[in-house]
Amino acid sequence: MRVLVITLSIILTIISLIFSILPFGYIALIPIIAAFVSGLIAFKLLQKEGKSTTIIKVLFAIITISLGLAIYNALKPNEIEVDQETIELQKQSDEETLEELEDIEIDG
C-alpha cells in the first residue's frame, strides 16, 4: 500500500510539472491537487510506520514549484506575436490582390 501510494505521488508530481510548464492554465491544477492529496496520504503512512519522509518533502517542493508555474501561466496575459516577416508577407499579398482586383468594375 505504502509503495503504491508513493509511486502514484511520484507519477502525479511529474504530470503536474509537465502540465504547469505547458500553457494549459488552470487545467494544470487538476494533477497538482491530485499529487498533493496522494503525497499527503503517503506522508501520513510513512510517519505512521516511522520511515523517512524526505522523498515526500521533495515531491511537495516540486508540487509547490508546479503550482507557482501554473498560476503564472494562467495569469499571463494573452498576447499575439506579430513578426516582421508576417507583416511583409501580408503587405505583399495585399499588393498582389490589388493587382488582381484592377479589372473589376462594380455595378451599383
Partner: protein, 259 residues
C-alpha cells in the same frame, strides 16, 4: 396598374434587402477563442474581423478580413495563423474575390475564388504545400447558385439581415462555397436574450447554426451565435461544437462601428 405597382414594390423590397446598412469600412471586432479541455475553457487564439476600404483605378471595394491566430504561449506547440478575406461591393456585399490562407502547425493551404456574378461562375485556385516545401496548385471552374457566397460574405450578410422583422422560430437557408463544394447552412432565430459581454450588457438575437450536408459543426442547436439586437448586429458570443470537442468565441473589443 396594380400589377406595375406590385412589380415596383417587389423590386424595391429586394433593393432594400440587398443594401448594406450595417457594415462600414474601419470596423474592427476582436474575439478570444477558447476550447474546452477537461471541462475548463482554455484561451487558444485571437480572432479578428476587420473591414477596410480598398481602392482600385476603377472601383472602391470593401475588404472583409477575418484572422485567427494562436496566442504566443501556444505557438511553440501548435501555431495557427489563418486569414479569410473577401473583397465585396460596399453597397450590397456582393463578393468579387475570396481568399483563404491556412497555416496550421506546418500545414498550409490557400483557396482563391474569383466570382463572376453575371454567369454564376467561380474560378477556383487551390494551392497546397508539399512536405519538401514546394507548392502545387489546382485550378477549377465551378458553376454556383445565384445566391451562393463564400463563408466571410455569409457571416457579414447575416449581420445585414433585417432580423428585427423575423419571428422567433423562423429560419433562413444560405449556401456557402467551401473547399469547392456548395454547403447548405440553416440559421434559426431561437430567442432574444440579454447577456453580459466585455463590451457591456447587450440585448441579443440568439441564433442557431446548422450545416445540412457537412459534419464540421455537429448537432442541432449546439452551434449558437448571439448578435446584438441593435443596428450594428455585432457577433458578441458564439458557442460551437465540432467532432473533436467544443469551444466558444467571446468578444473583447469592438471599434469603428457604423451606428
Amino acid at each position: 396598374m396594380s400589377r406595375i405597382l406590385l412589380i415596383i414594390t417587389v423590386l424595391f423590397s429586394f433593393a432594400v434587402k440587398g443594401q448594406n446598412n450595417t457594415i462600414a469600412a474601419g470596423e474592427k471586432l476582436t474575439f478570444t477563442a477558447s476550447y474546452n479541455m477537461s471541462g475548463l475553457m482554455t484561451d487558444l487564439a485571437q480572432v479578428t474581423m476587420e473591414t477596410n476600404e480598398v481602392k482600385t483605378s476603377k472601383a472602391t471595394l470593401l475588404r472583409l478580413r477575418c484572422k485567427a491566430q494562436t496566442y504566443s504561449k501556444w505557438d511553440n506547440f501548435f501555431k495557427i495563423n489563418d486569414i479569410y478575406e473577401t473583397y465585396v461591393n460596399p453597397t450590397n456585399l456582393i463578393p468579387y474575390l475570396h481568399k483563404r490562407e491556412i497555416n496550421e502547425g506546418g500545414y498550409y493551404k490557400k483557396m482563391q475564388y474569383n466570382f463572376d456574378r453575371g454567369l454564376n461562375k467561380v474560378k477556383s485556385v487551390k494551392t497546397k504545400r508539399r512536405k519538401d516545401g514546394t507548392f502545387w496548385s489546382e485550378n477549377k471552374n465551378l458553376t454556383i447558385g445565384s445566391k451562393t457566397n463564400d463563408i466571410v460574405t455569409t457571416i457579414y450578410y447575416i449581420r445585414n439581415l433585417d432580423i428585427h422583422k423575423a419571428a422567433i422560430g423562423s429560419s433562413d437557408n444560405f449556401t456557402i462555397l467551401f473547399d469547392n463544394e456548395e454547403t447548405s447552412m440553416k440559421i434559426t432565430l431561437l430567442s432574444k436574450e440579454t447577456i453580459s459581454t466585455n463590451i457591456g450588457k447587450k440585448e441579443c438575437y440568439k441564433l442557431s447554426i446548422s450545416l445540412n450536408n457537412n459534419d464540421i459543426l455537429s448537432g442541432e442547436n449546439n452551434n449558437l451565435l448571439w448578435l446584438t439586437a441593435d443596428a450594428n448586429k455585432i457577433p458578441v458570443y458564439a458557442k460551437f461544437k465540432v467532432p473533436v470537442g467544443n469551444g466558444e468565441l467571446k468578444i473583447q473589443s469592438a471599434t469603428g462601428l457604423k451606428h
